[in-house]
Every structure is written in C-alpha cells, then in structure tokens.
C-alpha cells in the first residue's frame, strides 16, 4: 500500500522585545543566570503581571505577514502544570482567544507554489531553563528566560514531505527576520519547532493517529525526523500494529526518536482565563497603523529585484533568501552604480551568489560573521575594472578581504598580486610555454581548439594567476602564428 505523510508544525518564536511579556526585566540572551528576574517573572507571592504592548504589536505584525485575521477581543489564559522551570506553576498563554487566526503562507517547492494554512498564532510566555549538574547531582534553575514573550504559530496539516516542511520553515524564518519580530536563532532557542505527523493510505481523507515530535534543534533535524517518523509509522502499520498518540523526543545524534509520554493519559492543563489580566481589545486603528508600517516582505522583494535590477528569477530568489543578504546586495549595487554611472547589478549578484556563497559554505559561517562590507566589495570590483588585478586573483583577494576586513588594494600591494600587463615580460613567458608544449601546439594546429585553453592555463600558472588574461590570449595567438 502507498502511504502519504501529513504534517502540521507548531513553531515557537521568541519575540524581539526589550523587556519580558509581563514585567520590565531584560530579555537579553546569555546573561549571568538569574540576573534578569523580578518578583513578577519569579512568581513571588502577590506580584501581578501587566502585558507588554510591544509583544502584542509584533504578534499582529506576524499575523498580517501570514495573511491572518487579527482578533479584536483577546484574553490571556492560564495553562496549569507543575515544573520547576515554571515559576507560577502556570504558563500564561492564549487558549481561548488567540491574537491571530486563519492565515496562510505560500511556499515554493521545485518551482511549484504551495499554500500552507496557518491555524492560529497566540501570545505566551517562555519558561526558565533547568541546568543539570550531574557531577554534583544537582538541578539548578535559571529564570532569565522565564517570562520572555513568545508567539506560537500553528499550521494546518498541509505539509506532505520533509522538503515542504523545511521550505516552509525557511520562508517563515525569513519573514520573521524581515519583520524584525525575532532573530530566529535555533541554537539559542529563539525559534523552536515541534512536528505533528501522521500517515494515511493514499486517497484516504480522514487523518491517521498522530505523534508529536519535540527537541528539533535545526531545520535538518526537522527534515530527518519527518522522514524517520513517517517510516517508523509505516513499518508499524505494515506489520499490523497501531500508532500510539504520543509525544516523542528526537535524538539527532542517533537519528531516531524515543517516546516521552503517551498523550491519552496526559495532562489536563485546566485552562482558564487569567483573572489577573483583563481582556484586551485590538482596534482597527492599531491594526491599520501596523499595516502601514510593514516592511517589504521576501515575496515582494523577490519581484522587485527582478523588475528593478533585471535579475534572473533564480538570482532574485537567492539574494532575498535573507534580509541581510538582500540589504547587502542593494547597498553594493548602489555604490557600484554611483561609481560607474551605469547599472551593473548582475556583476554584484554574481559575486554574492558565487564567491560569497562558496566562502560562507567553506567556512561554515554566515554573511554577518564575515568582515565584508558593500564598500569593500565595490573597491574590489573597481580594481578588476581598472585592470589592476585579474579575475582569478580577485577571488583570492576576496577571500582574504572577507576574513581580515583589509582594503583590497592594500592586500594586492602586500601580496604583490598586481596584474602583469607588461608585454615584454609576458611575451617571454608565453614563449617558454610554447616551447615546453610542442604536443599541445600540434593538437591546436590540427584543429583542437581546446588545446589553446591549456596553453592559457599554463601561462597563468607560471605567473601565479597574475597575468592579464586578454594580453595572454593575444600574445599566445601572435606567437603561435609567428613561430609555427
């Protein structure tokens, strides 16, 4: 029997606010444990919460970007359970009246558009962090994160493959960063994703029993976990077994998941409206104000890059894949155009898509980790345009510049990389190459055009790439004609 996978995602996003959801404590990451706490976020008896307006605005912003309806009437509700990282023994969340609902996000899968429904987005607060010191068999708690504002984005079960899930998450993360709603760092926990997954025989409309997968710390983990869980469920069904509705924990090292607890016997969270927080109304005026201040979203930027810069769709998609890269591109193009007085968008795009991507991949870093600036890049392009350095040398300078942040002309001077355009000097070398490669010359004469490339390569090698390529071409042609 053929099975199909049905996936819904629950994504927790830490909001980029200065202060916590219900008090004035800082939300900065990585501070001294328990240095960002007060009676309110510690749940000290008698302390009362007041809602962070900025968090509400960021949630609305996200809802608008995800085509949601914004709720006028909002309540905060309590989710009651005991755990040491939860100071009040309840999490303040939105169970009954979430701030956003009924939205969607379009993603691109191999050139095909796919729409994933957003069920709801609700506001809530984060819990603290348990730290286990096994050496001294101690459990310690850091409450710095307790009360940090979160939104939880819940999708419809519209996702059908690991690739779709990752495409969705990438697009979502991109939007959230564009909106400046969150910094979306999975390794710091500011973006977390749980996967709800079930499978069903192809063609069946009703849903199978689903499991919930937790502890997914990267998009790759999401991808692997979905593949693994779909296979696990299929194996169970095919051997006549039954899927248990349970929460499972993904172990990325082992590449498999283990059951955490069964859902049936699970928790009754005794949700009820938080009497310490009055319901709040979001009026049209507030929504309109936020709407009018929305930044350009990735999809809009993609279209504009094609129309404004004449870029191929492929380039546009890659350049807008992060706000940082897109902004870098635009800043560089602006500088470059000012210098040249003509539009040279594609040149900039090529550098970013080619050498920048290669370098970040090689080094395993992000654009922001490099010392590259639009100004440095444009200075490099200028050196090429002026014939000071050759393209292959430029790549070398680029790599160095990205890591040291030094200006390209300084690197060229320091390393003696200036292009050799001296005809006599080059002629000498070209002659050497011709003498050393009689067979290649013969091949070339016999009509093998490729052989010429080999000769150019040899010349470049002798000059450590510094030879002016146009000159090398011309000299080679001349010398072959003269001597042979």
């Amino acid at each position: 029997m053929k099975y199909e996978t049905v996936v819904g995602l629950e994504i927790h996003v830490e909001l980029k606010t200065q202060s916590k959801m219900f008090c004035a404590c800082s939300t900065a990451f990585g501070s001294e444990p328990n240095s960002q706490c007060c009676p309110i976020c510690l749940g000290i008896p008698g302390a009362l919460p007041t809602i962070n307006k900025k968090a509400v605005e960021l949630a609305i912003k996200t809802g608008l970007a995800l085509n949601c309806k914004i709720s006028e009437y909002n309540t905060m509700d309590r989710k009651n359970y005991f755990y040491p990282d939860l100071p009040k023994a309840y999490q303040t969340t939105q169970q009954y009246h979430p701030i956003c609902r009924d939205g969607y996000l379009d993603i691109n899968i191999d050139g095909r558009k796919k729409r994933v429904g957003i069920t709801r987005i609700h506001l809530e607060e984060d819990a603290g962090k348990l730290i286990h010191d096994s050496e001294n068999s101690l459990s310690l708690i850091d409450y710095n994160r307790a009360g940090v504002p979160l939104i939880e984005i819940v999708t419809e079960p519209h996702i059908e493959s690991p690739e779709e899930a990752v495409a969705f998450l990438e697009e979502l993360r991109n939007i959230l960063i564009y909106l400046d709603v969150s910094d979306c760092k999975m390794q710091e926990g500011s973006l977390r994703c749980d996967v709800n997954l079930s499978i069903r025989p192809k063609g069946q409309t009703s849903l199978g029993t689903r499991t919930e997968m937790k502890n997914l710390n990267s998009f790759r983990a999401v991808q692997r976990a979905i593949k693994n869980e779909a296979e696990r469920q299929q194996n169970i069904l095919e051997s006549g077994g039954e899927i248990l509705q349970e929460t499972r924990r993904w172990d990325d090292l082992k590449g498999q998941s283990v059951a955490m607890r069964e859902k049936q016997e699970a928790d009754d969270y005794r949700y009820f409206q938080d009497p310490d927080l009055v319901p709040f109304i979001i009026d049209n005026q507030m929504v309109e104000k936020i709407k009018n201040n929305m930044p350009e979203l990735p999809a809009q930027k993609r279209e504009r890059f094609v129309s404004e810069y004449g870029l191929p769709e492929y380039d546009s998609r890659i350049l807008t894949s992060s706000r940082e890269l897109a902004d870098f591109f635009e800043a560089s193009v602006k500088l470059y155009d000012e210098m040249k007085g003509s539009k040279e968008s594609k040149t900039v795009s090529n550098w970013l898509m080619g050498d920048l991507m290669r370098l970040t991949k090689e080094l395993g870093v992000e654009l922001g980790d490099l010392k590259l600036t639009p100004s440095l890049l444009v200075q490099l392009l200028k050196l090429i345009d002026q014939g000071v350095i050759s393209s292959p040398i430029a790549k070398e300078v680029f790599d160095e510049m990205c890591q040291s942040g030094q200006e390209p002309d300084k690197i060229v001077e320091k390393k003696g990389l200036r292009q050799i355009s001296d005809i006599d000097q080059l002629k000498e070398i070209v002659r050497e190459v011709i003498q050393e490669n009689p067979k290649t010359i013969a091949d070339y004469k016999a009509g093998k055009k490729k052989a010429f490339g080999h000769l150019v390569g040899q010349t470049m090698k002798k000059t450590k790439g510094k030879a002016n390529p146009q000159l090398v071409n011309k000299l080679l042609q001349d010398e072959i004609n003269i001597f042979q």
Binding site: G43, I44, N80, F82, F272, V278
Partner: protein, 491 residues
Amino acid sequence: MELYKLTVHEIRGLVNKGKLSIEKLVRGVIQRIDSTESLLDSFITLNIDEALHQARTLDQLISQEARLSTLAGIPFGVQDNICTFGIRTTCASKMLDDFIPPYDSSVIEKLKNSHSIILGKLNMDEFGMGSSTQNSAFKFTKNPWSLHKVSGGAAGGGAAAVASDQVFYAIGSDASGCLRQPAAFCGVVGIKPTYGLVSRFGLVACAPSLEQIGCITKDVTDCAYVLEEIAFYDKKDSTSIRNGNSTYTSYLMDDVKGLKIGVPKEIFDESWDPDVRTYVNNSIEILKKLGAQIVDITLPHFKYASASHSIIFCCESSSNLARYDGIKYGMRAKGVDNLEELYCKTRSQGFGQEVKAILMLGNLFLSNKFYDSHYKKALKIRELLRNDIRKAFEKCHIILTPTSPILAFDFNHESSLPIGMSESQRYALLANMTGIPAISIPCGFSQEGLPIGLQLMADKFNEGTLIKAAYTFERNTDYHMKKPMKLEVTE
C-alpha cells in the same frame, strides 16, 4: 488620657493642634497590645521597634512644621496576606512561615509615603480561606466581645485588633465577605471597595477576580479617610481602574433624604438569627425615619450565588496557590527522593486541611470533565447576578442586607467548617461576585451582647453614596460608640 481609644480623625485634630506626639501615641497602642494580645491573638508578627523609630522621626518632621497627610503617624495593622517589604508575610500558612517579601505591595507603599506606621501583621485564615481564623496555621483570634467566640474571617485579626483598640485601622482583603463579616462580628466598620479601585499589586490573593483590598476602621469617618488614601490608579495592576472621584471625606454628610434603599426580597429566610432580624428591621425603620425611601427589589439568581462563588473561588485558588511547590521560596519538605515527592510532601505538609480541600476541588472543577458543568456554569451565573444587580440599581441607590445572617459563633462550631464560604457570608459575597462596593457598619447588639452588622451595597464606584448613607446612620445611632468588655490582663 487613653490614647488608644481615639479615632483617626480625633488624632488628626490633636496632632494638628500640637497637642499630641506621635511617639506617645505609638507607645500608647503598644501598651494596649501588650495588655490585650495574649487574650486576643490578633497579630502574627509585630513591628514595634521600627514603629517607634518611625514615630520619633515623624515627631521631628512635625516640629519642623512639615505638611503631612491625614494618616501620618497613625499606627495600623496589615492583614498577613499583603506584602510588606522586609516584614514576614505568612498568609497564616506554614508554607510561608519564613517568607519575607522583597517588595512592598502598592497599597503599603502608598501608606508608607503617607507616613502611616505599620504596627504589625494580622492573623487570618490560611490564605484567606475560612470565616473564623480557625484555619490559621498559628493561632485563633478571639472576639473582643466574647472570648469564646470567633472574630470572624478571614480578616478576624484585623477586626479584633480594631475593635479592641490595638490599632487605629487595619488593611485587609475581601474575597467573599471575609473582611466585612469579621467587621460585623467585632462591631467595627469594614469596606470592600469597587473591584479595581484599590490596587491588588502585592496582595497574595487566592481568588483574584473576587478579591479586593479594603479597610477596617472604628467608624465611618475613619473609613472615608483611609479609603481616600488607598484608592488610586496603579499601572502595576492590570485590573486597576482610573477613577477621578475619590474625595470620599466630602461625602461625610448627615443626609439620606430621597435616597432609595432597596431590600431584596430573596434574602429573608429561616437562617437568620432572631436578633439579627430585629436589628436589621430596626435599621430599616431608622433610615426610613431619616428620609430614605425603602423599595422592594429582586435578585432572581441570588440562590445560586453562594455555590457559584465557591466554584470560582476554588478554581482560581487552585491555580494561584500552585506556585507553592517548595522550589523557589517558602517551605520545602525534607527527606525527598525526587521531584514529585518534593511537590507532594511540601504541599501536604505546608497547607492546612481547608486549603487542601479547596485546591483539590478547584482542580476538579477546572478539569476537562467538570469545566463546563461547573466552572463555566459558575461564570454564567456570575453574569446573571451582575445583570440582577444592574437592574436592581435602576430602582435604588443602595442595597441593604445584614452583613451576616448569624452572629459570631463558638470556636469549632460547624458554621465555620464547610469549605471556606460559610453561611455567614452569603450576602456579603454578592459584592465580590459582581464587583460592587459594600460596607458593613454596626447596627445593634444581640441579647448576649454580640455585635450585629448592617451591609450597604452601592453601584460600582459609588463609594461616596455608601459613605454618606453609612455616616448618616452612624450619626443617628450610637452602636459604634460601644466598646467591648474590659480586656486588659490584670496582674
């Protein structure tokens, strides 16, 4: 002169004329506490040294002719569920036996700024759950009018302390009539203001939607003075409401002419003590003679009020008291092997029977199985009651009931047993369910000499009307002048 017998407004006059030093005043009440506390057990913690220190500082200020607020230099008591910075706040529970708040509640902050002097923290039922202080983990507070009777509860400590002149006023909380009922039992004035009028920030509440901070005073004039101080908008409490009208002393007028007083027909039943019936009827006659108009009103859903109040109270408490888990502060059980055991033992040992019963019921009512049939239904009834009250106030300005249909009862009497909300708070809890203000004033004494309380309720933010009606009643009666028996322990 026995300074402790004075009222706030009398002290004010003397201090202003330079006839009274604050230190002398404070020493006077400390002496009074010394001689009465072993009989009454009103306090959990005393703040004597700090109070004397503040008194001396204030006397200096006064000698420099500094302008001070009405309550400056007035010693008062605070119910032990209101956070006081640096002063142990136990909620009368073993769970918080050693809890010293790192901050002041907003109300206390305000009163400190007014230079009022905290004398100590007052006994109560554990976390405010009960109606007699018998649920206090530490001590029972006796009724100054009869030492084998309860002082009422939860705020029994405050009511007994004010009635016995141990403090000039007390700050307490009221979630089910639990400030007004003790005031009635002890023959003093108690007010629960409109929900949102007084900040709850720093009140260790069990049921936030029902609970409000109020005050217990020796007479209505003092009530107006204290209320004027503690009513303010506080951005730290999201349920706090801005209300410009807070000059309650301007309502201290002897005038009820044309005031319409509604008496709900549903309240009269067999449960009333005969003396309560006599004196409440008498009070109605007095008000009528003073020019008020008595109208019949109806509260059709009154019969469901008590049950639905209990459910809401239990549910909110179960969530609000879940934080006492032995992890962060307060009691932690010893000799535990794992987390679950830590939770179970801490909560089993830290909470009293009544509290545990309420928490278990609350968890049950909020569970999937009972949410709709109990909690949701209780919320609906609350809406119906609000509607009843709204309609009633279309016909009258004031609703009149006894504060409690029964008198202060004996210790270990069954009236105090059923989960927190006793018979004695049936009428008072209406104001908690609907958020309206209500005051209890003395209106008579039973044949055995126990005080009887009259409850007046007004529409939201109409504390002024309440003060006016109560003041008029007080001016034309002398129940508030009577003092309990001689309480001093004699050598």
